[in-house]
């Protein structure tokens, strides 16, 4: 479990993280979303004790990271897959990290097999592809068999097969009851992996919600309506507080009133309805709506759609 409380981080005049609070729970893959420069990496660095927060706290398992002895047994992380010494072999890279936390050689062999790197373990990292470096980074994160795992943009630059493998891994890690916290700037990626989303923009919390309910926070969800008496019905809907927008092909896009209410209204006034389709906003669209506005991040009312079930 990761608890971030009123976290702020300023670099000179730039505020990278601004009063951010959220909790990442175990047993879930939690997506950490935000446009580039939103403060995701900075937040993760503060959680790992690499950057000191300007104010606020970040706790892992109830403690500050720096207070954890042999922290790799508690938290496995991958911030930058290319942060490697090219002249070192994969084996020595992992062995050194294992030794730093009193982890034996057998576990090094295990994680190499787990990530499919055993055949190249004795090769220098210089010759590794990005995908191999990602796997090496994941192998390092898994060394201590930690209950909390944190990955920053782990699928950047991976091919489709690699992305698929990583998604499966995250899901199985979460299924084992671990806390899996994964950042990304792409909703399309998180939509298929994460079951909970924490969305930030300009260092502030925009949404903290189960993935399934994320679109509810978007104003884009509407109802498509077709009726032979469209003009009359539009005025009627407007009179009842709904917003109606005419679509090019004669349909009406209704917001502010759900499909059953529209159907009831039509029945009460004897208006025939030929088509009535609730159109949920796509996750992608909801995400863009949420983060797209550069001036108003609706930070005052983040869409807290409750917490995931325990």
């Amino acid at each position: 479990m990761i608890e971030v409380e009123q976290l702020s981080k300023r670099f000179g005049p730039v505020t990278a993280v601004d009063g951010l609070s959220f909790t990442v729970r175990s047993g879930h893959v939690t997506g950490f979303l935000g446009p580039n420069g939103a403060g995701k990496t900075t937040t993760m660095r503060v959680i790992l004790g690499l950057d000191a927060p300007t104010s606020g706290t970040a706790l892992v398992g109830g403690r500050r990271y720096q207070q954890i002895i042999r922290p790799l047994h508690e938290v496995g992380s991958l911030l930058d897959a290319t942060a490697l010494h090219g002249g070192r072999t994969a084996w020595f890279h992992l062995l050194s990290i294992a030794q730093s936390n009193g982890i034996g050689r057998r576990r090094v062999t295990q994680v190499l097999q787990l990530t499919g790197l055993d055949a190249v373990a004795r090769r220098r990292i210089k010759g590794f592809s990005l995908g191999m470096k990602q796997r090496l980074g994941i192998a390092a994160a898994l060394l201590g068999d930690p209950p909390v795992l944190m990955f920053d943009e782990p699928v950047n630059g991976l091919d489709a097969e690699g992305v698929q493998a990583i998604r499966q891994l995250f899901k199985s890690l979460a299924a084992e009851g671990r806390t899996v916290f994964v950042s990304s700037h792409l909703m399309s990626e998180m939509a298929q992996t994460a079951d909970h989303l924490i969305v930030i923009g300009r260092g502030r919390l925009l949404a903290d919600t189960p993935t399934g309910r994320f679109t509810e926070s978007s104003a884009r969800a509407d109802v498509l309506l077709r009726s032979p008496r469209a003009g009359e019905f539009a005025r009627l809907l407007a009179a009842h507080g709904a917003a109606v927008r005419a679509e090019g092909d004669g349909g009406l896009a209704v917001t502010g009133m759900d499909a059953p209410a529209i159907a009831d209204l039509a029945a009460r006034h004897g208006i025939a309805v030929h088509e009535l389709v609730p159109r949920p906003a796509s996750l992608e669209q909801a995400y863009l709506d949420l983060t797209g506005d550069s001036t108003d991040y609706r930070a005052g009312k983040p869409a807290r759609e409750g917490t995931p079930g325990q």
Partner: protein, 273 residues
Amino acid sequence: MTEPQTRAPRAAVPSLPARARDVLTFEWTKLRSVRSTHWSLLIAAIFAIGYSAVAAVVYTTTPRPTGAAAATVNPLLVSFAGLLYAVLAVGVLGVLSFSSEYATGLIRTTFAAVPRRLAVLAAKAAVTGTVALTAGELLSFASFFLAQAILSGHRLGISLSRPGVPGAVLAAGFLLFVCAMVGLGLGTIIRHTAGAVAALFGLIYLPAILYISLPPPWNARIGRFTLTISGTQVIALHPHNGLFSPAVSMLVIITWTAATLLAAALLITRRDA
């Protein structure tokens, strides 16, 4: 804050020696698993032994001063001719210890594995220092014996049993350790390999240039506070009168080393990784 989930049972807190062993093996494995370490030591060996041998041969063929000047001749210095350059190779080894991690970004992996940054600095100092001191003493004695073997063929050699000689040879090896530690400190402070190596060059060679270009007695008065001039004093057979005594010079050297590492320690705990 309540935490409803059951956390994985935490292993018993390891003892302090166990944790020290963790971070020492961590740094030792990193040091021995990259080629730059082997190259630095090889270059140090070639410079120290090779150049000293060449200097010894040249010494046998040059005319010796006579009269009063003969008393100040130091056949020992020939043995150390190459060490002046070997210090750089070992110094770079010290620089790379931290600067290569900053350059690659590996420093964040290191600090995530061992959040106690002073422990990391101490382990790097211990591991690099042990290697540098061992290499330093081996090379110092090797170049001494080689150079003296060449010189003794011409009845110019100097015996290890002569007073002051063992101390000077030991001190020469120690200077390699000093350079590795100053390099480590500079690499930590500056965080860029090229910048730190340039600073190391300056720290080692500027005092020598200053000493040559300033008029006496000012060259000695200022020079005695520098690392380089103090270094020549501790390996001299006939200490220079205008400088500090070899013992005080050694203190100057240790102060420089300690100050660099202290500055590194202060910065490393305060800066974001």
